[in-house]
Symmetry: C2
């Protein structure tokens, strides 16, 4: 018997799902280990940047008023009273027609209000004194990086949920965050269903294939920022499958199953949702591949029923699981970033449902081009190797010509977009 | 005394550096740990994909020749002899006007050459037999995924040096690579120089700042695919510094120093290179920031002398260190990927040297826009937080107007480009 399901738009599916978003607490990691995590708290500037007035170049610090009369014909001479290196503080106040040799990054000595670059001066020794010559006036403030000109103390310089890339690490180090507050990674359980599946280390057998979805999803979860836990495969036995889902659900923040959500005789997930008393948010989406992707909720915990078809599984994970993981981490732009590119191939077939075609999106000369990769078959595993995004062919369209501008989604990017923008994309 | 250095173009610097590229050996990791690594060997398809003729849908497998006479008015009846699920093999040969109920992914029974989808049929029970009705002919091969149609056995399906993303993981699992050959990560030593530097866990002191470069570079190395080892800071003492560089060099594949490469009185690196007998490949580049970035080579091992200025340090690491790390990993496109975007701000200043401006490159509606971030000062640490790339302002240009198309480099991307293309970019 074929169960009848009512397909809903992708945006509607995401909206239903997003109601059950939840957030993880913060934990601390050493700064060496923070790369790739998400900030678990706002980061405040613990001091101004620069922390003091300093010289951005090697040169001489002096009083600008003493340079006013300097010309090429009548240079002004300064006595060089000493040297200040980065990390040191010059101990005396600098007076009229005195200068201090200053190194890049060193604090401006008291009394000085400008720095002249080393290259613009000439130094001589005379009667045991060091003299330095200036041939044109310089203005007050020249070559000084002023305290706080980059950042004021107390500013929230990085927000909770920010992805930690190397630039963020630099800011954390500057402000002394040896231990960095990061969001706890959600624990995402994976259960594979399907009696045709062999484990990765098993020999091939007639009629069977190795389980690739579980390891693919495992990597997708890491990339999204979660902590995957692979609970192995179930048999196609309903009872076994039900118990495993029920037990695993208690140990994880999110649960993913692969396979078993279709309407075939061995697709047990619908029956399992019913036995668990789970609330099925949707079980049919106007998309290809992955129209049977199902999401259910039990006591606020989400069960993602991804299709057993590798491409559909991949799409479902990126569209539905990734944003919930990123949201858990506090990201304010948890959804896949979108852009526009020029389609490099023809898609003559009509698209009753929105199609997410795996593609490679990259520049050819100065144009961003979206190239479909591999066979356009949902079981074509080879195409997964080259793809770095999806080409979105809107539902209800008659077909796409080569050269058409199309919406693309970047799956490898650490960027993202927020819920409101994402669901307005007319999927 | 000011040392005179002859500046060379960025492309020339990269060419000199690239001569000293080297490669790491392969090692094996469990498939769960392979995400983000680079393949250390070509991956060969150990079987065809699909491994056998199979059904992509739920339906009935039959002989297409038996359907030829079927019409809406005169349906053809088949006897359903049994069922074959995914992972099973139907034991008998299917004869004339016989059909086998088949599940998605199951092997096509012997004798059959087409599958009719479940939705297009009607099944009835009659006289203890199960019958199935077809109302129109189907062609030979309909709804069959043929063995090897995606991938032939023995095909090199992934090349050595490929970045391992989730799609690659799926392919590895499919072909039974429970242990994955990956390139050994190069060990990249980091030594920070500069007596103004405090460690990240120290209290701020007058005239001093915390060391942010080392941790920034630490993260950049991880992102590039290397294994950073932070050897701490040296004092501005030449002897100490020399010994530390010499000893560290023996323990690593590449060595990065931050600071000390300028022409200031406390810039010891030039003296250290001389004492080591290292071959200085360049010490002045036509770029901003980071013109003093220096690279030397000793017995084929590269010493990267990055500027102590945070922005210059960041740029130097991405332009010069990243590609050598990726090359070591076997990547065939180790250089930063480039694209074109529309400049969102004016840069009226002339660019005697090529300028690498930190920017955020992202879509605004349908246009890729390059937005400079933070102050355009090389010490502006806050700008590092928001940047995801560089805006390249070519050397020898008079200035850039808002709305100009500019070359951009994406630092967060796992994509890349090869040497030949990169150096042709007219830096």
């Amino acid at each position: 018997m074929v169960e009848r399901r009512k397909p809903i738009p992708v945006a509607e599916a995401i909206s239903r799902l997003y109601e059950y978003r939840k957030y993880g607490e913060a934990e601390f990691v050493p700064i060496e280990n923070c790369f790739g995590r998400f900030l678990g708290a706002d980061i405040v500037a613990t001091h101004p940047v620069p922390p003091f007035d300093r010289s951005p170049y090697d040169g001489y610090a002096l009083r600008s008023m003493d340079t006013l009369q300097a010309t090429r014909e009548k240079p002004v001479w300064f006595e060089v009273k000493g040297t200040v290196g980065a990390g040191s503080v010059y101990p005396e106040k600098v007076g009229p027609f005195e200068a201090v040799r200053i190194m890049t990054g060193a604090q401006i000595p008291s009394g000085c209000d400008a720095v002249i670059m080393l290259e613009a001066t000439k130094e001589i020794e005379k009667d045991g004194r060091t003299l330095m010559q200036i041939k044109k006036p310089i203005q007050k403030g020249t070559n000084i990086s002023f305290a706080g000109e980059d950042t004021k103390k107390g500013t929230v310089i990085l927000e909770k949920g920010t992805y930690i890339h190397p630039g963020v690490t630099a800011i954390l180090a500057t402000f002394g965050y040896q231990r960095v507050p990061v969001s706890r990674k959600p624990k995402v359980g994976i259960i594979a269903t399907g009696s045709e599946l062999l484990e990765v280390d098993e020999e091939l057998q007639p009629g069977k294939i190795r389980n690739s979805n579980a390891y693919m999803v495992y990597s997708q979860i890491i990339r999204a920022g979660g902590e995957p836990v692979y609970y192995g495969q179930t048999s196609d036995n309903l009872e076994t499958c039900y118990r495993q889902v029920k037990n695993t659900l208690e140990e994880v923040d999110f649960l993913i199953t692969t396979g078993g959500v279709s309407v075939g005789d061995y697709d047990y997930l619908p029956a399992i949702y019913e036995r668990l008393g789970a609330n099925v948010l949707f079980n049919k989406i106007k998309m290809r591949p992955g129209s049977v992707t199902t999401v259910a909720e039990l006591d606020g915990k989400l069960l993602f029923g991804l299709s057993g078809n590798p491409s559909a599984c991949f799409v479902g994970c990126e569209l539905f699981v990734r944003p919930l993981i990123r949201e858990f981490l506090g990201s304010t732009n948890p959804f896949l970033p979108a852009g526009q590119a020029v389609l490099s191939a023809e898609f003559p077939k009509p698209n009753p449902f929105t199609r997410f075609v795996r593609g490679y999106i990259g520049f050819e000369k100065d144009t961003l081009v979206a190239k479909p990769v591999g066979l356009d078959k949902s079981n074509a595993i080879s195409s997964l190797g080259a793809a770095n995004g999806f080409i979105v062919l809107q539902g209800g369209t008659a077909g796409y010509k080569k050269g058409t501008a199309v919406t693309v989604l970047f799956v490898e990017s650490q960027d993202g977009q927020e819920f409101d923008r994402f669901i307005k994309m007319k999927f």
